[in-house]
């Protein structure tokens, strides 16, 4: 067993520096690497390019990094729900590359799987296609999109073991499973870290080979963005 366990978040993120490109898992606030985001705030690294489907809310998730102006560029599919984000974007302080969600996921997956680029129909005929190569397959135009090239991928899982194997819960799998192994170094934070051998190999969602470092997060708030309920 190759042991991927590191002591804590400080050790895991120790070599993240200014101006790096970082992928962060999560959809909305669901499945975001809360402990790592808090550590990025504490380290106060600046000039980051962040690849993440959303940008958090004003006071949680990536919104915390935006508040401290640590992000230069965001690559996301949807950035509503964050007033500070909108302000920085409209004033030009923040560079934003909006990418269709399926393309964003596939750009992660392509990086993970060693595919340099791919064609997709998403965005053809729109602003997204500007400057991109177009090719027709089976009579339908597609645009060429490239795999991401990031320094770090930070993902969050429900359970993990010391070998770096990951299991997700519910819809918190989202981008986390696509980003593991999609950057030079992948860091996984998990709610529960167990010794190798305790997770059933049949139930692993992401094999440990894609993960370089793993640690158990100190605490999880797991904030709910839209609490919708029905009455009994």
């Amino acid at each position: 067993m190759i042991n991927k366990k590191v002591a804590n978040v400080q050790v895991a993120l120790s070599d993240i520096a200014d101006n790096m490109t970082i992928m962060l898992g999560g959809f909305g606030l669901c499945g975001i690497p809360e402990n790592s985001i808090a550590e990025l705030v504490r380290k106060n690294v600046k000039g980051l390019t962040c690849i993440s489907n959303n940008a958090g809310v004003d006071d949680f998730g990536l919104g915390l990094l935006l508040q401290k102006r640590q992000i230069n560029k965001m690559i996301s599919s949807y950035v509503g729900e964050n007033a500070e984000f909108e302000r920085q974007m409209l004033s030009g302080e923040l560079d934003v590359e909006l990418t269709p969600q399926g393309t964003l996921a596939e750009k992660c997956r392509a990086a993970q799987m060693g595919i340099p680029a791919f064609y997709t129909p998403a965005g053809y005929g729109t602003e997204v296609a500007e400057g991109k190569e177009v090719r027709v397959f089976k009579g339908k135009p597609h645009i060429l999109e490239h795999a991401f090239d990031a320094d770090f991928a930070i993902v969050k899982a429900w359970k993990g073991d010391e070998a770096g194997n990951l299991i997700f819960k519910g819809t918190a799998r989202n981008f986390n499973a696509c980003m593991a192994g999609a950057a030079k170094i992948t860091i996984a934070e998990v709610e529960e870290l167990v010794p190798a051998g305790e997770l059933d190999p049949n139930e692993i969602h992401v094999p440990g080979i894609f993960v370089k470092r793993i640690f158990q997060g100190e605490k999880y708030e797991k904030r709910i963005e839209q609490r919708t309920v029905r009455t009994k």
Binding site: F27, G28, L29, C30, G31, N53, S76, S77, Y78, V79, G80, E81, E86, M89, L90, V96, L98, P100, Q101, G102, T103, L104, A105, E106, C108, R109, T120, P121, A122, G123, Y124, G125, T126, E127, V128, W158, F168, K169, G170, T171, A172, R173, N174, F175, N176, A177, C178, H205, K222, R223, I224, E225, Q226, R227, T228, V229, R230, T231, K232
Partner: protein, 218 residues
Amino acid sequence: MLDKIGIAKRIAKELQDGFYVNLGIGIPTLVANYVPQGMNVEFQSENGVLGMGPFPFEGEEDADLINAGKQTITTLKGASFFDSATSFGMIRGKHVDLTILGAMEVSESGDIANWKIPGKMVKGMGGAMDLVASAENIIVAMMHVNKIGESKILKECSLPLTGVKCVKKIVTELAVMEVTDKGIKLLERAPGVSVEDIIKATEVTLLIEGDIPEMILD
């Protein structure tokens, strides 16, 4: 004239047994409440769940279980979870049978705009561009006119496009319309709405053949 629930009810009539369906945010989400009895459909939410169920009972919300609108949900028997790349594989690979989404504008040729108002609102396209580029069966649920009474069905969209030549059907508070090679064809009118009312509210010239029946909702 229909309200939002009426629009959702009319769209629910487009569902077919065995359909996998992706619902957008807003009016489309309401369609899930009006699945005809005895019909089996499964709702896909692009953040990674098939077999989406209703909202949870109070106290049973789970932060790890949300839909694409970030609302807490539940799952039904037979549900599954998957990652975002797999989710859009289902969409791009045409495994999802029907996509229902909202729009700010739709053009005569079936172009759709629903993600950006330059200088005003830029929230992003989310999964809408992937959905409209790949789905073969796209129904738009929207109000016929905007807040100042202007037609949202236009010769050409004025807002940045989400996709081109993709919308198949439009359901509004006034009418059901089909996008054809020759233009937009009026299929049905809402209860209490005349063909003239619909013509007046629509910028494009509608194709009207014979008597236009009133929608049947229940």
